[in-house]
């Protein structure tokens, strides 16, 4: 089956090569090792890109969308992801996640993270039990107090649950930069494995106090809203990446936004959410390749701020 090199074949090959340069995320499979970070309290390593489910997995009983979200989850696992974050607040997301995990038979690959979200401080175990039933798992890897709701009671119960082996790690969450003062005080005084907070190339308040505090206290950090709930793409997608993007290991805006976050030394993991398999592939691209150094991070933030 030797093929003669004709002018037509040569031009076709050149066109394909050119196309692959224009669409690197689609044409190039990720290369190298998956980027992982240690959980300071145990040393266990988790992939640096996880998956959020806010808005994306709340599809109710829509089987068409459940199947589509299952494909997104499959892509996430196939490309090296493990940590999936959810909350009882997210409607049917937990049930959909359970069904997707059933379909993929993928619970072995999963680092399961969810939250306690109820004003009833006595309902911690009950809500944990309900979430485990929906996910179809025996225990959560990480259970967090959502947005500090009734945090004193919930955290005390979670500490006991961890001691009993009913959950592996515990933490607290906030978003949109809310209650950072309370958040810092809890980080200073309570034994926590994880904190989850909003951090991205535009929302950088956490750099002032919370991220340094997490490093100091040995607490893993999950960055939520890495794309500002999609706003960063709506705002910057039409703009060109900087000509030096490849120097910081970025082939698209998703990698640019995620690698900015992941290159902060206190960050353990970012949890972008998506409904699209193609976007998931782009997100998971941030698990591979070089990370920017401190000087390059400043350049990235300045570039985005200047657009």
């Amino acid at each position: 089956m030797a093929h003669e090199l004709t002018r037509r074949r040569f031009l076709a090959a050149m066109a394909a090569a050119g196309l692959s340069c224009r669409m690197p995320a689609l044409m190039a499979a990720p290369k190298g090792d998956v980027m992982t970070n240690p959980i300071p309290s145990s040393g266990e390593r988790v992939p640096a890109v996880g998956m959020g489910t806010w808005r994306t997995f709340n599809v109710g009983g829509d089987q068409y969308l459940i199947d589509q979200r299952t494909e997104v989850l499959k892509t996430f696992f196939d490309l090296g992801g493990t940590l999936v974050d959810c909350s009882p607040m997210y409607g049917s997301a937990a049930e959909v996640m359970g069904e997707a995990l059933d379909t993929l038979n993928a619970r072995e690959k999963l680092f399961s993270a969810t939250k306690i979200w109820t004003g009833d401080g006595d309902a911690t175990r009950q809500q944990d039990r309900e979430s485990r039933r929906k996910w179809g798992i025996e225990r959560f890897d990480l259970q967090q107090v959502h947005n500090l709701v009734a945090w004193q009671q919930h955290l005390a119960t979670l500490q006991q649950m961890k001691a009993d082996g009913d959950v592996r790690y515990i933490g607290i969450t906030t978003s949109h930069g809310r209650r950072h003062g309370d958040f810092a005080r809890i980080m200073e005084t309570e034994p926590l494995d994880f904190v989850q907070l909003t951090y991205n190339v535009l929302d950088r308040e956490a750099e002032d106090r919370l991220l340094p505090l997490a490093r100091e206290r040995g607490i893993a950090v999950i960055a939520n809203r890495p794309f500002q709930g999609g706003r960063l793409f709506r705002r910057f997608q039409s703009e060109a990446l900087p000509p030096w993007a490849d120097e910081v290991g970025c082939r698209n805006w998703a990698e640019f936004f995620l690698k900015y976050i992941l290159s902060h030394p206190a960050v353990t993991c970012a949890i972008p959410a998506t409904t699209s398999v193609e976007h998931m592939k782009e997100n998971m691209g941030a698990l591979y390749g070089a990370l920017p150094d401190e000087k390059q991070r400043r350049r990235m933030a300045a570039y985005v701020a200047g657009l």
């Binding site: 709340n58 599809v59 809310r178 209650r179």
Partner: protein
């Protein structure tokens, strides 16, 4: 904590995107097929009953509107919308309650046997109502670009509330407000949801309902002419 609440926006309370919401219309139509025909017959029947206008016709029209509240509340709101948006379940119960109240009112309200509206007014009301119910479903089609997404009266809550408001003119003003409360509250909730989702075309329906309900609060039925 006080300033924390100020930092929330409507989108913080919405746990789903437009794709999931708009597919609700497609899904319920696929599952109902071909029983949408019942809803179409209801629309034509209510229009005809509004034209006829006598006491029996009013009773029958209101019983059909009551059935529409029940059907859209128990079906669309509680079964389809509720799993992705908890308040939809509460509204579903409110729709069912509204349907039950209207059923009682339709059966027992002491209307005069004869209508007191002129014939042209009844024709205008009946034909106008059918036209409104015939055109409103197309807004969901325009929003989604999918013919299967038609939002029908008695099936979907926004069009049901829109269609119910003109029928409440059959009641005297002193009791009408009781049946306009739910359309008003639902339409405010729906407007806020659709606005946040960015589904502007669909938002026209609850917007129109709000205007009609506000107007209905101030319209009085024509007084019966004294035979003397």
């Amino acid at each position: 904590m006080g300033t924390t609440w100020l930092s929330y926006s409507l989108s913080d309370f919405l746990m789903f995107g437009p794709e999931v919401f708009l597919r609700l219309f497609v899904r319920i139509n696929q599952d109902l097929w071909p029983w949408q025909g019942v809803a179409v017959v209801m629309v034509i029947a209510i229009g005809a009953l509004l034209v006829r206008g006598d006491a029996m016709a009013r009773r029958s029209a209101l019983l059909l509107v009551a059935a529409a509240w029940l059907w859209s509340g128990a079906g669309f709101l509680m079964h389809y919308y509720g799993p992705i948006n908890l308040p939809a379940i509460w509204f579903g119960w409110a729709f069912v309650l509204q349907g039950a109240l209207l059923t009682v009112a339709g059966l027992f309200w002491p209307w005069n046997a004869a209508t007191n509206r002129p014939i042209w007014s009844r024709w205008l009301m009946g034909i106008g109502w059918i036209a409104l119910m015939g055109l409103s479903p197309l807004l969901a089609v325009a929003q989604t670009g999918n013919g299967q997404a038609a939002a029908l009266f008695a099936v979907t809550p926004d069009v049901t509330a829109l269609g119910a408001v003109p029928c409440m003119l059959l009641f005297p003003r002193r009791v009408r407000w009781l049946f306009l409360l739910l359309p008003l509250i639902w339409s405010l909730f729906s407007m806020a949801t659709l606005w946040t989702l960015g589904t502007w075309v669909l938002a026209v329906i609850p917007g129109t309902t709000l205007v009609l309900a506000a107007m209905a609060c101030f319209v009085s039925p024509r007084q019966a002419r004294n035979p003397d």
